[in-house]
């Protein structure tokens, strides 16, 4: 079984995000970029499936700017076998929309025929949480989102999902789309031998046109704003004082 893992190049989670002066988005010039952490968990899970003999090949795919190549090299250094880069824009500030990404991924799935697509549940840049679900709809495949545990058994998979209020375990028929949550695994560091090999692993470069998809945006960003700054708190000396302050604030 082939496992396809889409990975996105996003602003590094350690970076303090700054909104562009014109409010059109977040400033990405000279900012450290990394693989979306949820996608890293998906790559790790795919490699573990391969190590467990449940998968034969792990293919990483990224859709976006040409620099996403670095993100794919990271996936290859972790242990993915090969990579596909779909260059859909040359502007780092142009975020490819989930439906466009899902359509391109459908084209890749049609070509590669993987038995499983493992995606991050969302990308930490715009938190859309949509690509996996859209891909499942386009393909007519079963989907299991927010996975915190994945067991594959022949042509079905048992997936534990983190839902509001607890855990839900479902069986899905393969082939399937599984979107992964934070607690599924702890991604490994790239190993030195794999770093040295990463450059030699195949990385195919494609365009959206290769899959008959027009990457032009359908959505318009009206404005982008920083969250309101948190107001300074106070330290109270006793429960009585706390109750008094809460009353003053009109919340009890």
């Amino acid at each position: 079984m082939k496992v396809l893992v889409p990975v996105k190049r996003v602003i590094d989670y350690n970076v303090k995000v700054r909104v562009k002066a014109d409010g059109s988005g977040v400033d990405l010039a000279n900012v450290k970029m990394s693989m979306n952490p949820f996608d890293e968990i998906a790559v790790e899970e795919a490699i573990r499936l391969k190590e467990a003999g449940k998968a034969d090949e792990v293919i990483a795919v990224s859709i976006g700017v040409k620099q996403s190549q670095e993100t794919l090299r990271t996936a290859l250094a972790m242990g993915a076998d090969r990579a596909i880069l779909v260059v859909a824009t040359d502007d780092v500030h142009n975020d490819i929309e989930p439906l466009t990404v899902a359509k391109i991924l459908k084209g890749i799935v049609d070509e590669e025929q993987p038995g499983l697509v493992l995606c991050g549940k969302q990308a930490i840049d715009n938190d859309m949480n949509a690509t996996g679900q859209m891909l499942s709809a386009l393909l007519g495949w079963s989907q299991a989102t927010f996975a915190s545990k994945l067991e594959i058994d022949g042509d079905s998979a048992k997936v534990t999902r983190e839902v509001d209020g607890g855990l839900q375990t479902i069986d899905v028929k393969m082939p399937a789309i599984v979107t992964v949550d934070l607690r599924l695994n702890e991604p490994r560091y790239a190993s030195l031998p794999n770093i040295m090999k990463a450059k030699k692993k195949p990385l195919d470069e494609k365009t959206p046109a290769d899959y008959g998809v027009d990457p032009a945006p359908r959505l318009t960003i009206v404005s982008t704003a920083e969250p309101e700054a948190r107001k300074a708190g106070i330290i109270v000396g006793s429960v009585d004082e706390l109750v008094e302050k809460l009353k003053e604030a009109g919340v009890v």
Partner: protein, 387 residues
Amino acid sequence: MTSFGLTDEHQMIAQTVRRFVEHEIYPHEAEVERTGVVPPELAAEIKRKTIEMGFYACNFPESVGGAGLNHLEFAIVERELGRGSMALNHFFGRPQNILMACKGDQIERYLLPAVRGERMDALAMTEPGAGSDVRGMKCSAQRDGGDWVANGTKHFISGAEHADFVIVFMATGEDQTPKGPKKRITTFLVDRGTPGFTIREGYKSVSHRGYKNMILDFDDCRLSDAQVLGEVDGGFEVMNEWLYATRITVATMCVGRARRVFDYALDYAATREQFGQPIGKFQGVSFQLADMITEIDAADLLTLAAADRLDKGLPANREIASAKLYASEMLARVTDAAIQIHGGMGLMDDYPLERFWRDARVERIWDGTSEIQRHIISRDLLRALGA
């Protein structure tokens, strides 16, 4: 981060090691600093993860189980390690490459277990009466039958508390030369537990707490010829062949640490407000930042260029000395300026700045003082002119 002349692999090595240090080393630094010891289970964990990543003993050739990194690649690894505590990243094992001089049985007993992370080593050269003046060493091994009997004391021996064996330099005779008597030196491999050999706690140092300096005592310690590394009386040859590049380690670690310190200073300058604006808006602070990053980049390039010369087989003694001298003195200036930018808070142990400032002090002393490096540099230049 300087990327001049670096490949994608180099960048990925740097990112991976940096990430490891940030996730596996940083969270434990405060405790090690407070207690002065590395908990054994933490040490074992760091070692295990390093082996898993294939980075353990990455400075050794693939033929003996290492990763075969060249000097430039290894300098990049150590630059990123330099960001973290030396006490902890000791277990991101990088055995002394002098072990490549092992022959016969020594390969199975010392070299291979060291590369696999099964046995740890330490290098013992310095003595209370022999610092920069290596030939002044008093530790000696005398022939007794077919064996050697070693006596004397070594101090400032980093990592000896964790060592299963030590690589020790001993005087094994004296030659008369026109310039006066000159000691012959031999290198020995000495196992922990050898009768007459003891390892004890050293001094409390201002720099690198938890990365202890130990004292080794030899009291009629009997050693066989099988313990000699290299040739009898060939200690200087072994030293010159293998210890040549260790100054790059100091230089490149200074660069890594300076970048970490700089990030603290930059962030503080951008967020700390006085007189109604971030202090970074005052030229007194912003110009300091400009000088700091310029010096860090310069030291980075100087160090990587020296490592690259070694890889190209070019003479590098002068360049390595320049890198070690400049990077260690740069770190002193950068840590000092970072504290100045932080003001009073920089001196408090709530921030790691005071630690970096203290740690920086030893870099101008160990592995050849700044004065010795200046001596090497100037001698190299003047000798060519016959002066």
